[in-house]
Amino acid sequence: MPKCDRLVDVGRRQFLRGSAATAAGAVAVAVAPSAPAKAAGAARVDYPSSRLANVKDLKKNVPLDVLYPDADAPGVLLKLGTRVEGGVGPDGDIVGFTIICPHKGFPLAYSADKRTFNCPGHYSVFDPEKGGQQVWGQATQNLPQYMLRVDDKGDIHAEGVDELLYGRLSNVL
């Protein structure tokens, strides 16, 4: 079983009363990274530049499941519909985040109404419109966000992550 599925499976087993079904759906299908991840000897890890999607693939306020920086690291791209700091694309409204909670590794669910990522494990709430800031919760870091680049063709490339991902002591394994 792939490890990202194991992460989801924990959510399913442990949180029957919470939002497990929603959470489990979040990483069902994902785009594989276009370049293999590689470790490096530099002080900061050397991130792969991965094409995750094209801007045309995104629908407003609907998260698109992706994997970055490798197949064991589920995340989403999200077109918010309003320009935000750190947003990319023609409208400056595309952001990308891991959807593994940095507290205990449970998969986050996206609330389209509130525009927040919510953790069924211990109720943490993160705001993708504010750089993944934890609105309230248990994690000691805000939600790791992708550094994104959009090329002339509208392809969205991830080229880094700004916080340590849950479950790995190096963002690139």
Binding site: G18, G86, N118, G137, E163, L169
Partner: protein
């Protein structure tokens, strides 16, 4: 943008790293952690044999893995004079937290003093003395000499009542049994200081005199009881935020039904179901929301009563339970006072005496005295009468087969810092006693707690009851010397606007005198200070880990060590005692408080002998401690109940699970503790029988509250937030926290904000007849109109500024019942503009 550390890789803990036991030194829960440390020039590897976890770290680890730590759990600190890597991560085998880390505790490593990584550079590293118009570093001997000379001169000339002492009395953080003993021995044995107070209240008193007077110690159950009960009653406690992992690890499983097998095994012969939860709080908290998510709304009853009316609610529930006969008759007969006592003549307006503002009596007498109908209570509290009845049913209506319901009651600052503390506390304990829910599996009537406990001191009987209202003594110009141990009244006292104004003036008088004596001898300096003190000034000595807000008034500042920089013992909310092992050096020359107290005593002895006060000097002997363990052996080991069974070695062997106090006996070298108190029905009174309290409702009790409510538009309810520990004394040096809380938030109803022209994040002033403070407006749809909730004790906007001086008969402050007006100061400042103001409530979608 939200704060990000830009850390994407951490050093790996090698297989041979040192591993120390750590109990989190922040909240009452005391989660177990381990501190791993290893030389700074070494690191582990990803191969299973190369790391402390024995797993392949080149792979993604699953949820709840032991083999991961966040950047906040990492630092580089000094250990034995050398830099080492440090990881402090939750202990999966600790029964308290089972590997969970809270947003406070999981930042312990990041909150350590590190010169290599520039964290907590606000920590004090050496003694400071007011000299040449500012604070200058100096030696311990120089600083202590001045402290002793001025203190000795003042107490010899004018008596020990001229020495005012503010001192922590708790466990964890800067507390611990070692340090409460050290300070206690100095002020209660060598001296008999009467004018003393505790870190969060203006007198030296209990926060829960009532339950103690009734014979029911306030930490009487086990965390396991939250897993075993039928009903949890949470009063004035927002447990998901303030006792986070107790809630997550022990309440939630019962709501989910994950403890049903355990219930059936431990309590056969009765029906069991998932827990019901009653939450009594004027505010809809994240705790209410989480309970609804886990237990289902049909199993959660949130009684959002009018602020300060808890006593009326408790009395109506008590009355209803008694009328229905849902009481434990056998328990009442066998374990409680059976003869009524005479009501005081002026009751209920006045109690037996100011020292005893209630009336302790029998069950029947209490039922009569507390009698309040559901309809009357509904009128007072604003609650639906049907909900009051439902609460009584969930608490006490027998289960199928006539089996008694098991109900655990937890309460905290909502009533402790609330209206009519003594009788409200008593009225709640009445319910637990009447239903036989103390000393039983799934029972308890307990404080939820704030910080951990660690109290062993010589008798404080000389302080008296009611204890002196120390803040008023200082404000009225009395007292000449103020010793302050890890207290910051500028953030965490009531009537703080006035207190600060006077404290600044009085301490400035001494600073000016010291400035004028510059260049003179030590004798000249002491004489100048004493003259200023005699003229109304105040000489302030502060012992702390940082230069605090109130420390701006200090003349001598002594640097203290914290938990982990010293060996330190405490107990948590189920009396679980653990030893935190020293895993790093204190900053600079900072010392454990107990050893600072010892040094003060030794300098007092020396100076008093020079003054010819030999007999007095003799009282300051007995401090020849070399280490904190010596203080522990002199204090806890000799003076705690069965403390002679407890040693560092035995605690170390018990690891992060420790034992629950009091110690009972040894099995080999293993200490056997006490899961629950009062299992034998023998209560803490002279005759072993618990008392009920005749505790009738008498409105808003503290002076000035009724008038304030009438005069101002908004309730300024207040309390804690998950992310912050206490008054932010360390958090104020943490980027992650200060990014989120550059100002304290004030949760406001959106319509109220609109009517005042306030937008989210705007800086607002909160003001009333007691003073003024500031906060950032946080629109909160669930906040009732006219009711706000402000973060308490925050450095950039202390809520205590607007709390009036009104206290109860026993000098318990009333922070919660505060009313004020609100006006906009400014648009959201730059530090606020990037913040989210979305709802804090989790939802599944």
């Amino acid at each position: 943008m939200a704060f990000k550390r830009q850390i994407d890789r951490l050093p790996i803990i090698p297989a041979d790293a040192k591993k120390h036991n750590v109990t989190c030194h922040y909240c009452i829960v005391g989660c177990g952690y381990h501190a791993y440390s290893w030389p700074v020039n070494k690191q582990g590897g990803t191969a299973p044999g190369q790391n402390a976890f024995g797993v392949d770290l080149s792979e993604q680890q699953p949820a709840e893995t032991e083999a991961w730590y966040a950047p906040s759990m990492y630092n580089i600190v000094r250990q034995g004079g050398k830099d080492v890597h440090l990881v402090i991560k939750p202990d999966p085998n600790c029964v308290v937290n089972s590997g969970l880390g809270s947003i406070r505790g999981a930042r312990m490593a990041e909150m350590r003093y590190s010169t290599a990584r520039s964290t907590q550079q606000q920590r004090l590293t050496e003694p400071l003395m007011w000299r040449y118009g500012s604070w200058q570093p100096t030696s311990w001997d120089d600083a202590l000499d001045l402290v002793a000379r001025v203190t000795a001169k003042v107490v010899v000339d004018k008596g020990e009542d001229e020495l005012i002492v503010s001192m922590f009395d708790h466990g964890g953080s800067a507390g611990g049994y070692e340090n409460t003993w050290g300070t206690g021995k100095l002020y209660f044995e060598s001296m008999k200081v009467k004018n003393c107070r505790i870190h969060n209240r203006p007198a030296y008193n209990s926060e829960v005199h009532a339950t103690r007077d009734m014979g029911v110690g306030e930490l009487n159950n086990a965390y396991e009881d939250a897993e075993l009960c039928d009903t949890i009653v949470a009063v004035g406690t927002n447990s998901l935020e303030t006792q986070t992992n107790y809630f997550l690890n022990h309440w939630v499983p019962n709501m989910r039904g994950a403890t049903l097998d355990k219930k059936r095994l431990m309590m056969p012969d009765e029906p069991h179901a998932t827990a019901k939860v009653i939450i009594i709080d004027p505010r809809r908290t994240v705790t209410v929301n989480a309970c609804e998510v886990e237990a289902g709304k049909e199993n959660v009853l949130h009684l959002a009563l009018k602020s300060g009316t808890d006593l009326a609610l408790f009395n109506a529930i008590f009355t209803h339970i008694a009328e229905k006969g849902w009481v434990d008759r056998a328990f009442i007969e066998q374990h409680t006072l059976r003869e009524a006592t005479t009501r005081p003549p002026l009751y209920p307006a006045r109690g037996v005496a100011d020292s005893n503002p209630g009336h302790l009596s029998s069950f029947e007498d209490a039922v009569e005295g507390c009698r309040l109908s559901v309809a009357e209570a509904a009128e007072i509290t604003g609650l639906d009468p049907a909900d009051i009845v439902k609460a009584a049913e969930w608490i006490a209506m027998p289960k199928d087969g006539g089996k008694r319901r098991r109900t655990m009651i937890g309460y905290e600052k909502g009533i402790i810092w609330g209206n009519d503390n003594y009788r409200t506390n008593g009225a709640l304990v009445n319910i637990a006693l009447a239903t036989g829910n103390i000393g039983q599996l799934g029972g308890g009537c307990v404080r939820m707690g704030g910080h951990q406990e660690g109290y062993v001191r010589p008798s404080d009987a000389h302080v008296g009851r009611p204890a002196p209202y120390v803040d008023q003594i200082l404000i009225s110009g009395k007292g000449g010397v103020h010793h302050v141990w890890a207290c910051d009244h500028y953030k965490t006292t009531l009537n703080a606007t006035e207190f600060k104004r006077v404290y600044n003036r009085r301490t400035n008088m001494v600073k000016e005198a010291m400035d004028a004596a510059a260049g003179g001898t030590r004798e000249d300096l002491v004489n100048a200070i004493v003259a200023a003190v005699n003229g109304g000034g105040l000489f302030a000595v502060h012992v702390d880990i940082i230069h605090s807000k109130i420390g701006q008034g200090a003349h001598v500042i002594l640097p203290a060590a914290e938990s982990g920089e010293m060996n330190l013992t405490s107990m948590n909310g189920e009396r679980r005692m653990r030893l935190v092992e020293r895993y790093m050096d204190p900053p600079g020359s900072a010392k454990p408080d107990c050893l600072i107290a010892a040094a003060v005593a030794q300098h007092m002895e020396r100076v008093l002998r020079e003054m010819g006060q030999d007999a007095y000097a003799e009282q300051f002997k007995g401090y020849d401690w070399q280490t904190e363990e010596d203080a522990f052996m002199d204090g806890y080991h000799k003076h705690a109940h069965n403390g002679e069974l407890v040693t560092y070695d035995r605690l170390r062997a018990l690891g992060n699970n420790g034992f629950q106090e009091p110690a009972q006996r040894l099995e080999g070298e293993t200490i056997i503790g006490t899961d629950r108190l009062y299992v034998d029905g023998n209560f803490s009174t002279d005759d072993g029988r618990a008392r009920f309290m005749d505790a009738p409702w008498r409105g808003l009790q503290a002076p000035g509250k009724q008038e304030q409510m009438a005069k101002y538009d908004f309730l300024i309810n207040n309390g804690r937030a998950n992310i912050a520990w206490q008054n932010g004394f360390l958090d104020q040096g943490n980027d992650f926290v200060m990014d989120r809380l550059p100002y304290p938030f004030i949760e406001m109803n959106p319509d109220d904000m609109e009517s005042l022209g306030i937008k989210e994040g705007d800086l607002v002033e909160v003001y009333n007849d007691a003073g003024a403070t500031q906060a950032m407006a946080y629109p909160t749809a669930t906040a009732r109109k006219g009711e706000t909730f402000m973060l308490f004790g925050w450095p950039t906007g202390p809520q205590g500024n607007v709390v009036n001086a009104g206290v109860n008969e026993l000098v318990l402050p009333n922070y919660k019942q505060t009313w004020g007006n609100i006006r906009k100061i400014a648009d959201a400042p730059a530090s606020v503009a990037h913040l989210t103001f979305k709802s804090k409530e989790y939802s599944a979608s």
